[in-house]
């Protein structure tokens, strides 16, 4: 199977996460992922997009980009934001902030579980600052068939 690429750009508002989640659900189901794994992928995508919109976008119009790559081995999803554009939280990946969130994570906390979910459910993940001043989050899910 040759690699196939899909690119999406959505406004930086959480309203658009739901249709993207539905799309990725249909796509992964068509690719033969199990029902359980489809739910995992949808949850990971929801968490990444929520972070990109809530912590990695200066306003609703800047948008976030999703690049999906499919081959016979895996599904890879890259979510790219452009950062908040302020000095304190220009890039939500700033190491001190991420480590702070992870160190404080507890079941009784109302927030701060998103990255933990991504780390737990994706087969591989990578987070890095990008040239736009934002964050790239890349997750990989191995094909099951």
């Amino acid at each position: 199977m040759e690699k196939a690429y899909i690119e999406l750009k959505i406004p930086s508002t959480v309203f658009y996460i739901e249709p993207v989640r539905a799309f990725i659900g249909n796509l992964t189901q068509s690719l033969g992922f199990s029902r359980k794994r489809v739910a995992d992928i949808q949850l990971v995508l929801d968490e990444i997009c929520s972070n990109a919109i809530n912590h990695g976008s200066a306003n609703a119009t800047v948008g976030i980009k999703l690049q999906i790559c499919i081959d016979s081995e895996a599904l890879e999803i890259l979510v790219r934001d452009t950062g908040r554009g302020d000095t304190r939280e220009h890039n939500w990946l700033a190491l001190e902030r991420l480590s702070e969130i992870e160190a404080k994570r507890a079941p009784s906390n109302e927030r701060g579980h998103g990255i933990f979910i991504v780390r737990s459910l994706a087969d591989a993940h990578e987070m890095a600052s990008n040239e736009a001043g934002g964050t790239d989050v890349r997750v990989i899910f191995h094909r099951e068939n």
């Binding site: 959480v14 309203f15 996460i17 739901e18 989640r21 359980k36 739910a39 995992d40 949808q42 949850l43 929801d46 968490e47 997009c49 929520s50 919109i53 809530n54 507890a106 079941p107 009784s108 906390n109 109302e110 927030r111 579980h113 998103g114 933990f116 979910i117 737990s120 459910l121």
Partner: protein
């Protein structure tokens, strides 16, 4: 936020829907949509509205929900904690398997009481 109490479907500023009814002094919130961030925000507002009304016993029925994210789980955990401080509680019921996995993964199932059915959740008060 405007919503209608007791048995009427809530129409919020989107197509997201839930209903609220009452049984034996317990408010039962039946969620009728998947809970990604957009709906989670609405859920949080509704739950905080109940807190403002001094409601102390709440059951959240998730039987029609096939997806929940950490924001929505956090909203439920937060309201449960605040209700307990006032002698009340929030209990959750009728979770699909993948929702149970999400609660277990986060650890929220050790913080909020989860029941198989609405009936058993009500009986636990």
């Amino acid at each position: 936020m405007t919503y209608f109490n007791l048995g009427k479907v809530i129409f919020m500023d989107s197509a997201k829907l839930m209903s609220i009814r009452e049984d034996s002094g317990v408010k039962i919130i039946e969620i009728k949509t998947d809970l990604s961030s957009y709906a989670a925000s609405d859920l949080r507002k509704v739950l905080e509205g109940l807190l403002a009304e001094k409601i102390d016993k709440v059951v959240v029925n998730l039987s029609q929900v096939s997806h929940i994210n950490s924001t929505a789980v956090g909203a439920l955990v937060g309201v449960a904690k605040r209700l307990r401080q006032n002698g009340g509680d929030l209990k959750i019921c009728a979770l699909a398997d993948n929702l149970t996995r999400t609660f277990n993964l986060i650890g929220a199932s050790s913080v909020v009481e989860i029941y198989e059915s609405e009936k058993s959740a009500l009986a636990a008060f």
